[in-house]
């Protein structure tokens, strides 16, 4: 059996053991905290979080996300960032000199962009920007989607997991905080990367995942090269 982190359900009282409640907990009495989510408990020395198994992405300022342009207004692109609300990209926030009414020439509906959340207000209206290093329109490639709470597992500690998938499969990968992942490369390599991401998605709550993915990718690669001989 794999080792599984402690699973909690909504309303479960959490023993903080002196740490501070951070994400996914609410005050349910004097000095008591309960879980908001169905997820796993993550305890460090300072903080306690509940990481949900599933759930919508909620935009936060500074997050880099992948969005799909769904509508074009006179001076804005309206994008779906797989959050409960659409997000807006204004022409002043793109690196090109654009004229109002001529937005289609740069980004059309259906295109994907890698953008940063510029600002968000209290009723969850958000604006994106493309003015930063690495932000761009994503040309070609394939998009896969995972629940946004699992993004940290895809990235791994300091990017170990995603870098390993990139190196082992020989693909280019961009991970958005909102759970959309862009993969580009030869089709069979992309398929391999997708299957690895699928495993991370399904086993995100287990321990020792990076090592298992490394093993999986090695064995799959062996199979491919073995077949071609």
């Amino acid at each position: 059996m794999m080792k599984v982190r402690e699973i909690v359900l909504p309303g479960d009282q959490i023993d903080l053991q002196g740490a501070k409640a951070r994400y996914g907990l609410y005050k349910c009495g004097e000095g008591q905290f309960c879980s908001e989510y169905f997820g796993v408990l993550q305890k460090s020395e300072q903080f306690v979080d509940v990481v949900p198994f599933n759930g919508a992405y909620m935009p936060r300022r500074g997050d880099k996300v992948i969005g799909k342009v769904i509508e074009i207004g006179p001076s804005m692109w309206i994008t779906d960032i797989s959050a409960p609300y659409t997000s807006l990209l204004h022409i002043n926030d793109v690196p090109w000199r654009t004229n109002a009414g001529d937005l289609k020439r740069y980004i059309n509906t259906g295109d994907y962009i890698y953008a940063k959340v510029l600002s968000i207000n209290e009723i969850n209206e958000s604006w994106l920007t493309l003015k930063d290093v690495g932000l761009r329109k994503l040309e070609g490639g394939t998009i896969v989607s995972i629940p946004s709470p699992k993004v940290p597992r895809i990235i791994g500690k300091g990017g170990t997991m995603v870098n390993m998938i990139k190196d082992e499969t020989g693909t280019r990968i961009v991970v958005g905080q909102n759970g959309l992942i862009w993969i580009d490369g030869p089709p069979e390599n992309v398929m391999l990367a997708i299957s690895a991401i699928e495993i991370v998605k399904n086993e995100a709550h287990t321990i020792g995942l990076t090592d298992r993915i490394a093993e999986y990718l090695k064995s799959k690669k062996g199979e491919i090269s073995g077949n071609s001989k």
Binding site: M1, P10, G11, F38, A56, P84, Y85, N202
Partner: protein
């Protein structure tokens, strides 16, 4: 309710028409994530009831005048299939199902942290495929599991159960015959951790003492039903990993 008949619903030994003792529940089975397209879903089999609950959202509420600037709108739709009962039910919303949709929406709204999602809407579809008394409570119990598995923040799960009066006796979890020919039916749903009541309706009549006895029975049963809900959610993650592992 209250239909007069000469069917004996409780025998000399105090057993009920389906052989249960007064405080015995029908078998309950819950399975989560039965639908791929929904954000969260659950299938409940409670005695003869077969009900599917699917959750979508939170997503932006449309039409726009339905949006609430302070909180999310919880919209549950309880629907009975035409084939769910003995005699074909005329499909579509009717007075009964609209009332049930409303009370279920309100019960779930008190558990979901709606204030985290201004302008949004959470859709919950409850489809009764086979009905056998107590569908509103079974539907709500399944819906709460589906909402939790959709990753929507909640204060607590919602758990429900019915009690009723049959042949002058207070019994738990009425079956179809008891519901049709009994004297009273009392569905209750609570937040199991705090014991707060979020749904209570009564059909027929009971004395105050009988009511207290019935609520007491329901409160005891809630603990058992809540455990079934918890196991249904947890099992998915504890067993599915065991197969892949080693």
């Amino acid at each position: 309710m209250g239909t007069v008949s000469d069917i004996k619903l409780i025998d000399e030994k105090g057993l009920r028409i389906d052989g249960r003792s007064p405080e015995e529940l029908r078998p309950i089975k819950i399975e989560t994530d039965v639908l791929n397209r929904a954000d969260g879903s659950a299938l409940i089999e409670w005695g003869g009831n077969k009900i599917i609950a699917a959750v979508y959202g939170p997503r932006e509420a449309y039409p726009k005048h339905n949006q609430d600037i302070n909180k999310a709108v919880v919209k549950a739709r309880y629907n009975m299939e035409a084939y769910s009962v003995d005699e074909r039910k005329r499909p579509g919303p009717d007075r009964r199902s609209m009332e049930i949709s409303k009370v279920i929406s309100e019960a779930l709204e008190s558990a979901i942290m709606v204030e985290q999602f201004p302008r949004a809407q959470i859709d919950i579809f409850i489809e009764v495929m086979q009905a056998d008394a107590g569908t509103r409570i079974a539907g709500l119990t399944a819906a709460a599991v589906a909402v939790a598995s959709a990753g929507i923040p909640m204060r607590d799960l919602v758990t429900g159960c019915t009690a009723g009066k049959v042949d002058g006796h207070i019994v738990l979890d009425l079956c179809k015959e008891e519901d049709n020919f009994g004297q009273a039916d009392l569905p209750i749903a609570v937040l199991p951790k705090s014991g707060k009541v979020v749904l209570m309706q009564m059909d027929g009549d009971m004395s105050v003492e009988e009511f207290d006895q019935a609520t007491g029975m329901v409160m005891n049963a809630i603990k058992r039903i809540n455990q079934i809900q918890r196991d249904a959610l947890k099992n998915k993650f504890e067993t599915s990993t065991g197969e892949v592992g080693e």
